[in-house]
């Protein structure tokens, strides 16, 4: 059946592809004749045109702002040039921020520890759950199609709504979650007002939503694995667990690493979820700082914190990148 479908589909495609072929032929032909190096750079033009205007130029612009003082009263919110002063003040704790940038004495109310705790716990759990979900979804069973939709759906929920759901769930007297969890001694009666509990709620909400993201990427990786490799492994005597370890895992690893990479980045930048559950005052993540500063018209400091976040992420992800590089070198 499916074979038939695809036959007709591609036969239909023929007529359209013909005209397209004619139209673009000169450009394509020209491109085709470029050497590999030239071709590669030509092909990268559109991406970098887009990234250049929409991301790189803005970042340079913002980077420049970060070198200027705040000017909260003037018509122009960007003050005079001060060099790295904003950075120095933030990193040394001299800046007047909503919450301390880094303070070990109050780990749940200072930005860096809060963000790190959030990231590590959420991403770790998401990876495990996401993998389990992907393995289940990769199986054949009746109703699989609907199961997939159901399991992936949380990821499709806008953050505002996600936040609202968990806000309500942990709202005493409305949410059903507070009582039992409080009885277990896990959270206080007002989890959203308590920095530690608020962080917990945010992590739970993140796991609910983002495990599906992991699952989706891992599932796609699983689907791409050549089935005949499992035949070989099975004949070679590999048990399921061994097949998983020797074939599934290494072959989905690239996709998993991408997922891990971007989930980590996402978690380190978390803002919307926190704002719509416990609030930035209770769970002050790094991005909360940026938004608060920006709302207060302190553009210079906001830009500086944004760049510090980026630097922090960059440092933390170095490990991942080394891993990925090894993957690439090993894989080809």
């Amino acid at each position: 059946m499916s074979a038939e479908d695809s036959t007709t589909a591609s036969r239909v495609e023929t007529s359209t592809s013909r005209s397209r072929y004619r139209v673009d032929r000169t450009v394509l032909n020209w491109l085709e004749r470029r050497s590999d190096t030239q071709f590669v750079y030509m092909m990268l033009l559109p991406v970098f045109a887009l990234l250049g205007t929409m991301a790189i130029w803005p970042l340079l612009y913002t980077g420049n702002i970060s070198l200027h003082a705040d000017n909260i009263a003037g018509a122009n919110p960007v003050g005079e040039f001060v060099g790295l002063e904003n950075y120095v003040e933030i990193l040394t704790g001299q800046a007047n921020l909503q919450r301390p940038f880094f303070s070990l004495s109050s780990p749940f109310t200072s930005a860096v520890p809060v963000t790190l705790i959030y990231t590590v716990s959420a991403v770790a759990v998401e990876t495990v759950l996401g993998f389990a979900m992907a393995l289940i979804l990769n199986k054949e069973f009746r109703g699989r199609r609907w199961a997939r939709v159901a399991l992936i759906l949380p990821w499709a929920v806008p953050i505002v709504i996600q936040g609202m759901i968990f806000y309500l769930m942990f709202q005493p007297s409305i949410g059903f979650a507070v009582g039992p969890l409080n009885d277990l001694g896990l959270i206080s009666t007002t989890p959203l007002a308590n920095s530690r509990d608020g962080l917990f709620v945010a992590v739970i909400a993140d796991i609910w939503k983002q495990s599906a993201f992991m699952a989706l990427l891992i599932l796609a990786g699983l689907q791409s694995i050549d089935r005949s490799l499992y035949d070989v492994a099975e004949v070679a005597g590999a048990s399921r667990i061994q097949q998983f370890r020797t074939i599934t895992l290494p072959l989905v690893l690239p996709a998993l690493l991408v997922a891990l990479l971007f989930r980590t980045i996402g978690a380190l930048k978390v803002y919307g979820l926190v704002e719509s559950t416990a609030g930035c005052n209770t769970v002050p993540t790094l991005s909360c700082l940026v938004i608060d500063l920006w709302s207060g018209n302190r553009y210079g400091s906001a830009a500086a914190v944004a760049f510090i976040i980026a630097a922090l992420i960059g440092v933390l992800l170095l490990g991942y990148l080394v891993q990925i590089r090894q993957q690439e070198n090993g894989g080809r």
């Binding site: 490799l229 035949d231 099975e234 070679a236 005597g237 590999a238 020797t246 090993g330 894989g331 080809r332």
Partner: protein
């Protein structure tokens, strides 16, 4: 122990019947080749033995145990896949040692066995290449290596030498046999190369359209093919067939007449005579044995291929027109002679063949009637 038995095994893919009611009994330690035209069900048969595919009906026994439902890993088999299927993320060493590592074999043992295999396979110095950095033949050898480092009950090999050159094939052939004997393992070997099937196997199984045609020792298949299909399939170039009828122990066709055919009187009508190209020779070079009549033919094409020479003959029988183009294949006779035979194209010569090398088949059913026209001899099958 590794005897293998298929009982009434069939495999259907939707409308397609890949294997049809196959019965096959393979003794422990035997070397069996499966041959047959492309798509006849050879790979499918192996897959069912390995457990990768479950038969639609019938049972598979390994070592007299019904293994239906037993996963491949518990059947203790090693297999070389037709599509090679190397693990793209592992280098040659890891690919070859996979089965051993899975079983937690000692590193030392692994290294030794892999080294042995590498030598056998002439893959020295490639242990840390990735599959994508190998040539086609090298990949295939790695795939063989992955199987031979193991010590299974049953070896399944699906055209393992297809991508190798002649010298290496010959080498690998003996090596595979040696290994099979050393390990005393049952081997089921799919090949499209008859020489391979002939030289390596204890018995050859010929399959056509999913149906087993004959299973017998190589020379039996060659000398006493069970039916027209086997006769035509085994031997290259293929046996010549001449359709005719038998009346009073006399075979007659448009071009050929043979006396003293060992068939009961009266069992006449549609009979096909088969004669191998190498059994035809110019009358001039008459050998020993009793000739079975002479055919006058004109030489159409001569094809010298080194060690021998193919001569395409157009028999000049009664009623035969010179219009060669029509029905060319059926009307041609192919003769294989040594290259020093003095024959020229378009020459008309007399060729002959020995009674002992004639095969007779029932045209309708295809079944063999008589092999070698010794009048006293009874048909074998």
């Amino acid at each position: 122990m590794g005897s293998v038995r298929l009982e009434n095994v069939s495999k259907r893919y939707g409308d397609v019947t890949a294997v049809d009611d196959m019965n096959l009994e393979i003794d422990d330690g035997e070397f069996i080749s499966l041959v047959g035209p492309s798509g006849c069900g050879k790979s499918t048969t192996l897959e069912m033995i390995s457990g990768l595919t479950t038969q639609s009906s019938g049972s598979v026994y390994i070592d007299d145990e019904d293994v239906t439902g037993l996963p491949p890993k518990d059947r203790d088999i090693a297999m070389v896949f037709q599509n090679i299927a190397l693990f793209p993320h592992m280098d040659v060493f890891d690919n070859m040692s996979y089965g051993l590592r899975i079983r937690g074999t000692d590193d030392e043992v692994i290294e030794r066995r892999v080294d042995d295999a590498v030598e056998t396979l002439q893959l020295e110095g490639m242990l840390d290449r990735m599959p994508s950095e190998l040539s086609g033949g090298q990949r295939q050898r790695v795939a063989i290596g992955r199987a031979i480092v193991r010590d299974p009950e049953v070896f399944l090999m699906d055209e393992p030498l297809a991508n190798l050159d002649a010298k290496l094939r010959v080498h690998m052939r003996t090596e595979l046999q040696r290994i099979q004997r050393k390990l005393d393992v049952t081997a089921i070997y799919v090949t499209h190369d008859q020489e391979e099937a002939m030289t390596m196997s204890d018995r050859v199984a010929i399959i056509n359209g999913g149906v087993l045609q004959q299973i017998a020792p190589p020379l039996t298949c060659y000398n006493e093919p069970a039916n027209l299909f086997v006769a035509g399939f085994i031997g290259s170039p293929s046996m010549n067939f001449i359709e005719g009828s038998v009346t009073d122990r006399r075979f007659e066709s448009e071009t050929v007449t043979v006396d003293g055919v060992g068939l009961e009187e009266g069992s006449t009508d549609a009979v096909t005579l088969g004669i191998r190209p190498e059994d035809i020779y110019p009358e001039a070079a008459h050998r020993n044995g009793e000739t079975a009549g002479t055919v006058r033919a004109s030489v159409d094409v001569i094809e010298p291929i080194g060690e021998k020479m193919f001569v395409y003959l157009v028999p000049q029988g009664d009623g035969h027109t010179d219009d060669v183009s029509a029905d060319l294949e059926r009307d041609h006779l192919l003769m294989s002679v040594t290259p020093d035979t003095e024959i020229e194209e378009n020459e008309v010569i007399d060729v002959t063949f020995d009674q002992s090398s004639i095969h007779l088949f029932d045209t309708a059913t295809g079944d063999a009637l008589v092999h070698g026209l010794k009048p006293e001899q009874q048909p074998t099958s």
